[in-house]
């Protein structure tokens, strides 16, 4: 007999949700996390979108360590010395609270504590080395010279799924499948943040920008999120072009964003508290591996469940939703004492009828648009040029908008045909 009903590798949002779901139904669950405390190795921007946690903890909005609820969403383009943005504020978000800013160091500790309270055995500070197998069946995990046995293993390792790759359960990571994220956290007083962003009563600001000031085709997005008394500032960089360009360094992009004339004033006087970097899962539906097999399930970033438009990232919500689905699948498996591949295939069915796989399928190939030169180079520079010419009073005779647009287009590297094609692709895919 196995020592545990299930072993969960990784205590991020996916792993803690799976462990909590299973343990609260009475299953004997081991949750193993290499970070000590949980969250110490994790990075999100981060806004937790959606209400997936309600399914596990109905009162989570009162008890979880949430920073601010987002009422003000800004999407913008930054060029060398300009900023163009859409500033969307709505009272509706104040009532609905669809997104909360969170800090992973706090959130993950809370999630792990909830899993423990549900009855899971939570072990931190230990890295699982691999899986134990009997034929084509997973029968537990390997660590140092020991095997810990279980009927089911849930792999929730995050964006760098070493075990799943080493064990041949998923394809290795390609440059196009991941981006690199860098993030800094600056400390202020709560009041300073309220004043700087014009916020009240726990409301928050979430800004996402395409960085149109980079050279040599390097593409990156930036984000700025307000927490209670800190600001999270970060960049997400496309690895493929970064690798080709020897003159651009990832940390320079972070610095350039932080010192941009329209970003720097937001963080002025803040004390740097955290500096972190992490992979961001970007591969879309084609990067999703087979999600189940005899004795195992894959959830969260390890399964590629993440959605990004090159500026903002959603992943925690899918991690939680897939963790819960894995937990539910495990509960049925335990009831019928059957952890075979065919039994566990209901996991994929659950995900297919939920937002997790539906979003991924509907937005297949979105990364080709969001990481296109159109978004990261052409639109920022083109729009800036038009707006500048439109608003600038030089004393010269005024020109028509169309004329200005044509002039600016001529100055860009785009030819007309590929522009129309790219725009069409964008409209279809977004």
């Amino acid at each position: 007999m196995s020592e545990f009903d299930a072993i969960v590798v990784g205590a991020g949002p996916a792993g803690t949700s799976a462990a909590s779901k299973m343990a609260s139904s009475g299953m004997n669950v081991l949750l193993v996390e290499r970070g000590d405390p949980p969250g110490s190795k994790n990075v999100s921007g981060g806004i937790l979108w959606g209400k997936d946690l309600s399914k596990l903890y109905p009162d989570w909005e009162k008890t979880a360590p949430l920073e601010r609820f987002i009422t003000n969403k800004v999407t913008g383009f930054l060029t060398e010395d300009s900023s163009i943005s859409i500033d969307f504020k709505t009272k509706r978000f104040e009532r609905q609270r669809t997104g909360y800013s969170v800090l992973r160091t706090k959130l993950d500790g809370w999630l792990a504590k909830k899993a423990k309270d549900s009855g899971a055995t939570v072990i931190t500070g230990i890295t699982v080395d691999g899986l134990a197998r009997d034929g084509n069946k997973v029968i537990g995990v390997r660590q140092e010279n020991d095997v810990i046995t279980s009927d089911l293993v849930v792999l929730a390792e995050g964006a760098n799924p070493r075990i799943a790759i080493d064990e041949g359960l998923r394809q290795p990571i390609n440059d196009h499948d991941v981006a690199i994220g860098i993030k800094q956290v600056f400390k202020f007083s709560e009041q300073t943040i309220n004043e700087r962003f014009n916020l009240r009563n726990g409301a928050g600001f979430a800004g996402e920008y395409s960085l149109g000031f980079l050279n040599n085709g390097v593409k990156a997005g930036g984000f700025l999120y307000t927490n209670k008394d800190t600001i999270s500032l970060g960049v997400v960089i496309d690895i493929f072009d970064l690798r080709k360009d020897n003159s651009t360094y990832s940390f320079d992009i972070m610095e350039k964003f932080a010192s941009h004339p329209y970003i720097a004033p937001y963080i002025e006087g803040g004390q740097l508290q955290e500096y972190s970097a992490h992979l961001v899962c970007e591969g879309g539906i084609d990067y999703v591996p087979k999600l189940y097999g005899n004795g195992y399930l894959i959830a969260g970033d390890s399964a590629g469940f993440s959605f990004s438009n090159g500026m903002m990232i959603q992943g925690m919500n899918y991690a939680i939703a897939s963790g819960i689905a894995a937990g539910e699948t495990a509960i049925s498996a335990k009831e019928s004492n059957d952890y075979s591949e065919s039994m566990l295939s209901s996991y994929e069915k659950k995900l297919s009828s939920s937002e997790v796989l539906m979003d991924m399928r509907n937005f297949r190939g979105i990364q080709n648009v969001t990481w296109s030169p159109l978004v990261h180079e052409f639109i920022p520079k083109f729009t800036e040029g038009i707006l500048y010419n439109m608003f600038n009073e030089t004393g010269e005779p005024k020109k028509h908008l169309f004329e200005i647009a044509l002039e600016n287009f001529a100055g860009s590297k785009y030819d007309r045909k590929s522009l129309v094609l790219d725009l069409y692709r964008m409209m279809r895919r977004m």
């Binding site: 072990i123 660590q143 140092e144």
Partner: protein, 264 residues
């Protein structure tokens, strides 16, 4: 006969994360996580190395608040057999004297002990008092600042690092040994042992169990009183690079400035 070994451990704020508040110049402990004092990990490893060769039981003893549990579990996961946390409201604010008294009282409640290990000092207060204090309270011998510690037939042999050499000390048990930071490589915790550790858990003792009165321990039992804390700014000292040929001139200059003098 099974050797009974005690290891004294303290949980401290992670010194790599300790931030100094730029305004008050005090340590800001609120943001730091708690870890096992690094020299105590070396002390535990010294005990485990003895256990590798001689049948032994290792008990870790700590005085500290309830959150020291993570340190106790960690010690069990590295291979200790038993963990005792002495925790009591009355123990708060202790200086090194009642800390030593409390730890010594806990050890004296054990059926038997042959060797007690402590770290050379803690990373957060660095007095190095507590180990020697415990030896004094228990009335046993002590060897301080040790590396290469061995046990054979009722004797502990250890090397003491001195400024001008090494001293090898051999001492019969019972003895208390304080262990140098980085004098060995602490073995890793394993998942297997950590699961067992979490299941086994630690014991928590209060001062009643130790038959100590509240006025003997904690802040009330502490002879030292902190009146003021002050950070001292290190004085910028004059520095100078000289070539080999200039050394005689330098010596002369230092001599004239009365920084060095002749001895016969």
């Amino acid at each position: 006969m099974v050797l009974e070994i005690v290891v004294m451990v303290k949980q401290v704020p992670d010194s790599q994360e300790v931030v100094i508040d730029p305004v008050t110049m005090n340590l800001n402990r609120s943001m730091t996580r708690n870890v096992t004092n690094r020299a105590d990990e070396n002390a535990l490893e010294a005990a485990l190395q003895i256990k590798d060769k001689t049948p032994a039981n290792i008990t870790v003893v700590s005085m500290g608040p309830p959150q020291a549990e993570s340190t106790m579990i960690e010690c069990l996961a590295r291979g200790a057999d038993r963990a005792i946390l002495v925790s009591d409201r009355a123990l708060g604010g202790a200086d090194t004297y009642p800390t030593g008294l409390t730890v010594a009282s806990a050890i004296s409640k054990l059926d038997h002990f042959d060797i007690i290990f402590a770290g050379e000092e803690s990373s957060d207060s660095s007095t190095g008092h507590v180990g020697p204090g415990v030896a004094e309270f228990l009335g046993i011998d002590q060897i301080t600042y040790c590396s290469k510690i061995q046990y054979e037939d009722g004797y502990v042999t250890a090397e003491r690092e001195l400024e001008d050499g090494t001293e090898v000390v051999k001492c019969p048990t019972p003895v208390l040994v304080t262990v140098l930071l980085n004098s060995n490589y602490p073995r890793r915790q394993t998942l297997r042992r950590k699961i067992d550790a979490v299941r086994k858990g630690m014991e928590v003792w209060n001062i009643e169990k130790l038959e100590l009165k509240p006025e003997w321990v904690g802040v009330r039992g502490s002879p030292t009183i902190v009146r003021r804390m002050q950070s001292i700014k290190e004085k910028q000292r004059e520095g100078k690079k000289v070539t080999l040929e200039q050394i005689p001139d330098l010596v002369k200059e230092l001599y004239e400035k009365k920084i060095i003098r002749e001895v016969h």
